[in-house]
């Protein structure tokens, strides 16, 4: 299409330049143009949270952000939560706590948890349930997810002192 724009953004701490039609969502751009398929699509209308990424410090559902809106933004996706090849506290807590079954919701939950812990380092169970209520999981019944978030918060406090 001829009406593509060039968009420049920082994605996972690296400058990314991509061509994008005005109607394309950030989700589509991440998955189809940048091959960052770790961000998942469950509904495309903002209701499931599977596509959650962090944009300029806030958790957003990338299916409700246009690709062109990413101009100049700083974006973190699941592929960028730990940069040194190892797992971070949240990823480890989900893995060790069996907080995933099919795993399609997991990247979204991990990104939302990152946003929560950035805001509140020591959340209560109620804080967690409230903050993660926009992320749907149909497999786990949430019990192990909530526990994993608690474990991650605790672990992060230990590591960051």
């Amino acid at each position: 299409m001829s009406n593509k724009r060039v968009v420049t953004a920082t994605i996972n701490e690296e400058t990314a330049e991509f061509l994008c039609e005005p109607r394309q969502t950030l989700l589509e751009v991440l998955r189809d143009s940048l091959n960052l398929t770790g961000t998942k699509e469950g509904c495309s209308n903002g209701n499931c949270g599977a596509c959650t990424v962090i944009m300029n410090g806030h958790a957003v559902v990338s299916c409700l952000v246009l690709g062109v809106e990413a101009e100049g933004a700083e974006i973190q996706t699941i592929e960028g939560v730990s940069c040194d090849g190892s797992l971070n506290e949240v990823q480890s807590a989900f893995l060790e706590g069996a907080a995933l079954q099919c795993g399609i919701c997991t990247p979204g939950f991990i990104m939302q948890t990152e946003a929560l812990l950035a805001e509140k380092s020591n959340p209560t169970e109620d804080d967690i349930r409230f903050y993660l209520a926009g992320n749907l999981c149909r497999c786990t019944g949430y019990d192990k997810i909530v526990r994993a978030v608690m474990a991650a918060a605790e672990q992060r406090q230990v590591t960051t002192g």
Partner: protein, 758 residues
């Protein structure tokens, strides 16, 4: 909690990290929608806006003229099936109906029914092209109500359907009808049974159509090669079932289709039928390029296979000492557009928890202008548990009997014959009730004006069916395990653990991989709570074969006969007490003959069956009718829990799906058959803010049909929640809820109604 003398296991019962876990927490795991192939095209579908209509004309010319559009297909491109019934692993399927469900021919039978499909350079172009396809319809009156659909003067959906009689049902007439099946099962003498009863309770129940609600929408990518070999990449619960359905629909030999399983984002029974796969294949045939099609969430709701709404009338009779003497059930299920609801299973499950001397069950599979229904976790059993378990609660109330005491007194056990015939082997129904009776939760009193507690039990058969695995010993002492069961919730690990246990090695030393249909022997679907049971048996058999081969190799090394070598806890022991660990021998295998590869298969029809008993506390807002779950405990017989974390996960996930079904979820249709809530905003599944922690009690009554006693755990946890919650609402407010979901407006209406009656 252990209820049997438990053998000591080294791997079973531990909680290793799942083998595919790192890929899933880093975003590296590739799901169905994540595949990208060179020269790939994107597909989209045109769907009917009407619930019931004749297709008069389809004009695709405008779409075909659009730049970027590569192919358009309609039902003319889909091969004619004629009258064929094919066994597809999950029961026999009428191929004409299956084909018409994939692409409507002559008539559309539900809103969202596919009438055409397009492949284009990108998905937006494909969607625009779809909008330019003109379809002229002649609308017909939609048939949406179950009971009206059964009446003789109802408009007919499928002119080829006649009532099929099953069990002792009288044979049907040759009339066109929407009633596709009529079941009847009988045991004892119900007239006498009810005559002997001191107390009889009877109610009518209605439940709404609900969806599995997996978070990953359906997807398919297909490439039809010039040599007529078709490769399909998709997320599916069964690669071999998907292969056969695709091949049959395309009238190709099964061997010409290869299904490559991508990671699957939930299924719960809804990802067994194929929808997009044949369309992608036909578009690929026309273009010579791979074609990928993804469903939108609305398409998933409107046009995949939810589980039916139901209408049920159930009656129970008991003696004044609390002995259950008779039960009668009349159950009608919405099949959706084509026959195939789980009504048969419902009829078998309705009284399955109890030792019922006299019973009669009648069931009907009824076509209505809604999507063709499909399996959903213990299909049919949740509906009937709502009815039976509510009535059991009412009997307990009338008898002034504790609900656990009543259930223990009447529980089905080894040797009990179900109304539909089969006799149970060793089962754990009583043990699950005892576990609830003895739980901290049940022993704690519940205070609060609008608070109540409910108990309910549930049953699911679990199936056996066929599985295949192969396992190769690597020179570093690890084992590569190749299997055909797609992994929805950690089964790579539960299978690997059984192989590891049998070989006496660590779970981490097994590398499980799920492969395509050309790379492993036939394996039935991931469903029926069968994978850990049946693919587990296949893995154990492969491990036994590896043991034998390792003994032979050690015999070569020690210059003796293989029968002189013993395999003991991961070690080879020779006649003069030579010892080598599995790993030590693996390192020497290069010099000791052929590669060591174990194959294992399994194929039993049945398992022992799974039971669960649940206890829930609720609080109800008397002004809003909203029911809040305060506390929830589930006790379930897992036979032997291989990986307790994932067993708990199945229990917790099933419970929360059951809570959604109980309180919120329903297909909300208008009179024209349009679903008004086809999004996750309006079809509201539970969020983590709606539910508390779900406490689990794993009961272990080993199934003698599995070497380690495994029982499938995936399905039965969804069955009791609606009834348990209904019983809790009764305990809180004194109102019997008989309609699902028990949404605030219904609870409030019932509560206010009770007040005016007073």
């Amino acid at each position: 909690m252990s209820t049997a003398e438990k053998p000591s296991y080294k791997v079973i019962g531990t909680r290793p990290i799942r083998h595919d876990g790192v890929d899933k927490v880093t975003g590296r795991a590739l799901y169905g929608a994540d595949i990208k192939l060179s020269r790939m095209l994107y597909g989209a579908t045109v769907r009917s806006p009407h619930a019931h209509a004749k297709i008069v004309r389809i004009d695709t010319s405008q779409a075909e003229l659009m730049p970027g559009v590569r192919a358009v297909i309609t039902s003319e491109d889909v091969p004619e099936q004629g009258d064929r019934v094919v066994e597809l692993g999950e029961g026999a399927v009428n191929m004409r109906h299956l084909a018409a469900n994939v692409m409507a021919r002559e008539k559309v039978l539900y809103k969202g029914h596919v009438v055409a499909a397009v492949a284009a350079d990108d998905v937006h172009t494909a969607e625009e092209a779809c909008a330019r396809i003109e379809v002229e319809y002649e609308t017909l009156p939609p048939v949406l109500d179950l009971l009206k659909a059964m009446s003789a003067d109802a408009p007919i959906l499928n002119d080829d359907i006649r009532t099929e009689s099953i069990g002792s049902a009288p044979s049907g007439s040759d009339q066109q009808t929407n009633v596709a099946k009529h079941f009847m099962f009988e045991k004892g003498d119900i007239k006498q049974g009810f005559a002997d009863a001191d107390i009889i309770v009877e109610r009518t129940f209605d439940t709404a159509m609900v969806h599995q609600g997996y978070i990953e929408p359906h997807n398919a990518t297909a490439h039809w090669n010039a040599d007529d070999k078709i490769t399909v990449w998709m997320s599916t619960q069964g690669t071999f079932s998907a292969r056969q359905q695709t091949a049959e629909l395309l009238l190709m030999p099964v061997s010409s289709v290869k299904v490559v399983p991508m990671e699957i984002g939930g299924g719960f029974g809804g990802k067994i039928s194929v929808y997009l796969t044949p369309l992608a294949a036909l578009l690929s045939k026309k273009t010579g390029r791979p074609v990928k099609i993804l469903m939108s969430r609305t398409e998933v709701f409107e046009a995949t296979g939810p589980t039916p709404g139901s209408h049920m009338r159930v009656k129970l009779g008991a003696k004044s000492d609390g002995t259950l003497v008779a039960g009668e059930a009349w159950i009608a299920f919405e099949a959706g557009a084509y026959t195939g609801s789980p009504i048969g299973a419902a009829c078998m499950c309705v009284f399955a928890c109890y030792d019922l001397p006299n019973g009669q069950v009648e069931g009907f599979d009824v076509c209505v202008n809604k999507p063709r229904t499909n399996a959903y976790r213990a299909p049919g059993s949740t509906h009937v548990a709502m009815a039976t378990e509510t009535l059991v609660d009412e009997l307990c109330e009338k008898l002034k009997m504790d609900p656990t005491e009543f259930r223990i007194k009447n529980a089905a056990g080894e040797g009990t014959r179900r109304v539909d015939g089969p006799v149970y082997p060793r089962i754990g129904m009583v043990e699950t009730v005892e576990a609830i009776r003895d739980s901290e939760h049940y022993k704690t009193t519940l205070d609060g004006k609008f608070c109540g507690r409910g108990v309910a039990s549930g049953f699911w058969f679990n199936v056996g069916l066929k599985s295949s695995v192969s396992a190769t010993v690597n020179s570093d002492g690890t084992v590569a395990l190749v299997e055909g069961s797609t992994d929805i919730g950690g089964t790579r690990t539960s299978i690997a653990m059984q192989l590891a246990e049998t070989l006496g090695i660590a779970a981490e030393d097994v590398n499980p991989v799920v492969v395509d249909t050309d790379s492993i022997g036939y394996t039935d679907i991931t469903g029926g709570s069968r994978v850990t049971f049946s693919t587990g048996i296949a893995a154990i058999n492969a491990a036994i074969s590896i043991q034998e081969q390792m003994c032979q190799r050690a015999a070569i090394l020690w210059e003796t006969d293989a029968e002189n070598v013993r395999y003991e806890e991961g070690h080879l022991v020779g006649p003069s007490d030579q010892r080598l660990s599995f790993r030590e021998l693996a390192e020497k295998l290069r010099e000791l003959g052929d590669a060591v590869v174990g194959y294992g298969t399994s194929g039993s029809e049945t398992q022992g069956g799974a039971f669960g008993t649940h206890c829930v506390d609720v609080e109800i807002d008397p002004e809003l009718g909203k029911v809040q779950i305060l506390r929830y405990t589930i006790a379930q017989d897992a036979g032997t829990a291989i990986h307790p974390s994932y067993v708990e996960g199945q229990m917790q996930g099933g419970v929360v799906q059951g809570i959604g079904w109980a309180l919120n979820e329903e297909y909300w249709y208008d009179e024209q058959g349009e679903m008004h809530n086809p999004t996750f905003l309006d079809y509201r599944i539970p969020t983590c803010y709606d539910v508390p922690m779900i406490d689990t009690i794993i009961v272990e009554v080993p199934d003698p049909q599995h070497p380690y006693g495994v029982r499938g755990v995936g399905e039965v946890p969804i069955c009791p929640p609606p009834a348990a919650i209904a019983n809790a609402i009764y305990d809180a407010l004194g109102i019997r809820m008989t309609e699902l979901p028990m949404a605030p407006h219904r609870v409030l209406a019932a509560y206010l109604g009770r007040n005016t009656d007073d």
